[in-house]
């Protein structure tokens, strides 16, 4: 029962985040905005279409969207909603989660290179670099959670009955902030990447899928939603853990945290110059290391 509810809530989060982003942007721009589920209608439309494949591509190009979506689905099954239990949970599943995201990334990079297009090559190369640089941030974030909660699986980290404690609150809030930052990078949002840019030369994630259409494109988009939902649920869980809150808080929190923050950032900020992106992402990794160190000091109970 708990597992079913958990999976259902994850799906709701995945579906809602994009809607909230669109709504926030529309509100800030003074528009009425799209229907809340417009992106779902679009995806449904694409799922009904045929496909056009480039003659340069091999079978890898056709398999890649399945790998990307499959990896995202399995990765999502690791994530608990606050203290509910996810479908898969074992010690060290945090590592599996990170490497499943990597599996999806590799599939998409290879597919992009398979088309032989220089634009998609640019996207692939950038995605590979940013993926490499964000990996330490994610792993050290998990290490911080493991150090503070005493477990190495998501379910145990967040399900554990924590007593209210100021040190835990500090570390959890910082970790939540870190995971939101990682969500921005991993889901290709401003200021790292702009999904709505009109110029292929400046894209990262979107330019990798230029040659996909129809069913394949829909699969890639759905995978993107699931990935975003998983990461933003981690941030929400970290906040929920500060006060032993349950799923009724974590679910709306996951939707609103990412939805509103992405919406606000996208309406108020321009995207980075590409050269700045590396610095931006390395800064996130440095931040992660700093948070780990703060956690380490707090655990030693030094008065600071």
């Amino acid at each position: 029962m708990g597992i079913a509810l958990n999976t259902l809530l994850m799906l709701i989060v995945a579906v809602s985040i994009t809607g909230v982003i669109n709504r926030t942007r529309a509100l800030l721009a003074g528009r009425k905005g799209l229907p809340f589920l417009q992106h779902i209608y679009n995806a449904r439309l694409m799922l009904r279409k045929g496909a056009v494949y480039s003659t340069t591509t091999t079978a890898l190009f056709k398999i890649a969207p399945a790998v990307y979506l499959g990896a995202a689905i399995v990765a999502m099954l690791f994530i608990p909603v606050a203290d509910l239990y996810p479908l898969i949970s074992f010690e060290g599943d945090v590592i599996c989660f990170a490497y499943l995201l990597a599996l999806g990334r590799v599939a998409l990079i290879l597919a992009a290179m398979d088309t032989g297009s220089s634009f998609e090559g640019m996207g692939a190369s950038r995605e590979a670099l940013y993926g490499a640089l964000i990996e330490p941030a994610m792993m050290i974030g998990f290490a911080t959670l493991a150090m503070f909660c005493g477990y190495t699986s998501f379910a145990d980290i967040f399900a554990h009955e924590q007593s209210l404690n100021i040190h835990l609150t500090i570390v959890m809030l910082l970790t939540a902030y870190l995971f939101i930052k990682i969500t921005f990078v991993e889901s290709g949002r401003v200021p790292v990447d702009d999904p709505r840019t009109h110029l292929e030369l400046t894209m990262i994630h979107e330019v990798m899928c230029l040659d996909y259409c129809g069913v394949d494109m829909a699969m890639i988009q759905i995978a993107g939603w699931l990935k975003t939902a998983s990461l933003s649920m981690l941030a929400a869980n970290a906040i929920a853990a500060t006060g032993c809150f349950h799923w009724w808080l974590a679910t709306p929190l996951a939707i609103l945290l990412t939805g509103v923050s992405v919406g606000v950032v996208e309406s108020t900020q321009a995207r980075n110059k590409l050269l700045r992106n590396t610095t931006f992402i390395v800064t996130i990794s440095a931040l992660a290391a700093l948070i780990f160190f703060i956690g380490f000091l707090l655990q030693l109970n030094i008065n600071i």
Partner: protein, 662 residues
């Protein structure tokens, strides 16, 4: 007696290989290796399954006394690795050397096979020897055999240069080993590895450990002694690179393992753990960043071997730290991870080098930017290479993930339990960064070679290689997939070895690691199932709809051409912008400048050389030059000066002998 037997075996080997007709030499060699492999594998597998160590022979050496050749769990593990890789290499060599049979003389081919069999047999001796003279002899035999293998194409100047550099560096390492064994002998009266605890008790731990680490690290490709690897691997034939990179450099890891678990004193083990961890982190990061820069298939693979040695050392360092602080779970996990990674790397790196061999034999180049679209003309090679690529990127559900998973889990446990927190956190950051850049390097490698459109007509005209080579490649592939899908079974291979290091490992593996790995295995199966299901659903849905094909979308540009594809160099350009200070770039030719509106033909070649190279070549030469210059000032050419020098010399001798110094 033993050495006589060894000599007779070698003589028999030489005779047999020289009299066999040219085309059948490979089968004679294979017969030798298979016999040896099966003979030791029987013992090895029984030892790995838990029976007592077996002594096979005794040898009375001329200097260090009687030594034994025996199989304990650690030797057994490496014997299995050597056997599998050796057989695969020999089968592969049949197809690879076929192109040379007409060009090289029969004696040349015979010599090559003699060296190949000797290399495999000497590695078996290395891991069975109890230390001292027999160990050094086998070690030296291994070096010389691999040297002969590297100079197969000795008519090329760069091959000869690389081989000589290899020979010299190996002997520098050999001196450290001799020094290590000699000081061990002088302290304890025995040069066997089993005497190490006695020497360590005398307070020589760190000194002896560093001596052995330098000696073994030279073979393993440890930073900064890795510079021979990226030179020797491109020079050697591909099957030789495969066995050298897959197995021979692991002899260094074997040596470090032998020494490390003889350390009983936990405060010293702590220091050693820090040393090994630091070395692992630096080696791993240096190797992987340099790998991402390379535009030559075999150089890239060579740097990636360095990186994998780094990962293994990170595991060993964490295991030593865990053991030193009494945390057996961390020690067991990290040790299992390091050993599994050793097995895994021997599998996927052999496969990758075999793949590189296929490419070289069909297209006669190893330069990345000459390939492109090979997947269409060589589909089986492309699939096997893809499996190896995914495995080396540590992607689930393949074997690379299993080893790194256990190392990570060891480090996370270390952080969680609050022992060596900062060291483990450093390991996590390094391993994550290494993992990320490996993905970068290998997506670059795979996509530039196999994907896109052919950049050269020879690529478009190439055909798939013969089936014996594909059979040889199937051997490591099977291992990669099996270990990836059922890691809970594969862990049993390293169980006995880990128990040597951590006595309580048995219970930890049974109660903790195996159940966790079963879950990993289920996840792997789930991933495969979900992906397959999604693909089948998609294909079925598309069957009834219109599926068209057309040119790649050019983003509004109407005449894109093949030369515009992303090359290896352009793929890694953004990483170079971040890490450019690590390499020394040499540029040949001229790039197209921005002011050229209608560019003419240009020749432009960038190479990213390792800065550490200088440490072993130019740096010494420059130092010698400077010293030389200073000394040359004394050579004035005036006889009165020379008489003065002679007088000064005599006075110096006189004073020194007065003071009883000489």
């Amino acid at each position: 007696m033993f050495y006589l037997g060894l000599l007779l075996t070698l003589a028999l080997l030489v005779a047999a290989l020289f009299i066999t007709p040219l085309r059948y030499k490979v089968w004679t060699a294979l017969a030798f290796v298979t016999t040896a492999a099966i003979a030791v594998a029987c013992y090895a597998i029984s030892v790995l399954a838990g029976s007592k160590p077996i002594t096979l022979a005794e040898a009375a050496g001329p200097i260090f006394g009687v030594e034994r050749f025996s199989i304990d769990p650690l030797s057994a593990l490496f014997l299995v690795i050597i056997g599998i890789a050796g057989i695969a290499t020999l089968i592969y060599s049949r197809g690879y050397l076929a192109q040379y049979l007409g060009k090289k003389s029969s004696a040349h081919i015979s010599l090559h096979y003699v060296a190949l069999v000797t290399l495999i047999l000497s590695m078996m001796l290395v891991v069975m020897s109890s230390g001292g003279f027999s160990f050094l002899l086998a070690w030296e035999l291994m070096t010389i055999a691999s040297f002969i293998l590297i100079i197969f194409d000795a008519q090329k100047a760069e091959v000869l240069r690389a081989a000589l550099a290899y020979l010299i560096m190996m002997h520098v390492g050999f001196i450290f080993l001799v020094a290590g064994f000699a000081s061990l002998h002088s302290v304890t009266g025995s040069a066997a590895f089993s005497a190490l605890p006695m020497a360590f008790a005398e307070g020589k731990t760190i000194l002896l450990f560093v001596l052995f680490l330098l000696g073994f690290g030279m073979k393993a490709g440890m930073f900064p002694m890795h510079v021979w690897l990226p030179e020797a691997h491109p020079a050697a034939p591909s099957h030789v690179s495969a066995i050298m990179s897959g197995v021979m450099i692991k002899m260094g890891v074997y040596g470090v393992l032998r020494v490390i678990w003889m350390v009983q004193d936990y405060s010293e083990l702590q220091i050693i753990g820090f040393i090994v961890l630091a070395v692992g982190i630096i080696t791993g990061l240096w190797g992987v960043i340099l790998a991402a820069f390379q535009n030559d298939v075999k150089r890239l693979l060579a740097y990636s071997s360095i990186e994998n040695i780094g990962v293994i050392f990170i595991g060993l360092g964490i295991a030593a730290l865990g053991q030193a602080s009494g945390n057996s779970i961390v020690a067991t996990l990290a040790m299992c991870g390091a050993l599994m990674h050793t097995i895994n790397h021997s599998l996927f790196k052999s496969l990758l080098f075999f793949g590189a061999g296929n490419l070289y034999s069909q297209m006669h180049t190893t330069h990345l930017n000459m390939f492109g679209g090979v997947a269409k003309s060589m589909p089986v090679t492309a699939i096997l290479f893809l499996i190896a690529t995914a495995a080396i990127c540590a992607l689930p559900p393949l074997n690379g993930f299993v080893g790194e998973f256990m190392i990570y889990l060891g480090m996370l446990n270390s952080v969680r339990d609050g022992v060596n927190t900062l060291a483990a956190a450093g390991g996590i950051i390094a391993l994550a960064l290494i993992g990320g850049i490996v993905v970068f390097a290998f997506t670059k490698l795979y996509s530039t070679i196999f994907l896109g459109s052919p950049r050269d007509h020879s690529v478009a005209e190439s055909v798939e290689v013969d089936s014996t080579r594909l059979v040889a490649m199937a051997i490591p592939t099977a291992g990669i997939i099996l270990i990836g899908i059922v890691p809970q079974v594969a862990i049993n291979a390293v169980k006995q070895v880990t128990m040597l290091f951590t006595p309580s490992a048995d219970a930890i593996i049974g109660d903790y690691i195996t159940p966790t790995l079963s879950k990993v295995s289920l996840t792997a199966l789930l991933v495969i199932l979900v992906i397959a299901l999604l693909y089948v659903i998609k294909s079925r849905a598309l069957r009834k709809r219109t599926v068209e094909s057309g040119p790649t979308w050019g983003c509004g540009f109407t005449s894109p051409n093949i030369r515009m594809q992303y090359t290896g160099e352009s793929f890694s350009e953004n990483l170079e912008a971040v890490a450019t200070s690590l390499t020394q770039n040499t540029v040949e030719g001229r790039a197209v400048s921005k002011s050229e509106i209608f560019p003419s033909a240009h020749n432009y070649d960038v190479r990213h050389k390792d800065k550490i190279d200088r440490l072993f070549t130019e740096w010494w030469v420059e130092l010698l030059h400077i010293i030389n210059k200073r000394i040359m000032r004394l050579r004035t050419g005036k006889i009165n000066h020379y008489i003065l020098f002679a007088l000064l010399f005599l006075v110096a001798i006189f004073i020194l002998s007065l003071l009883n110094i000489i």
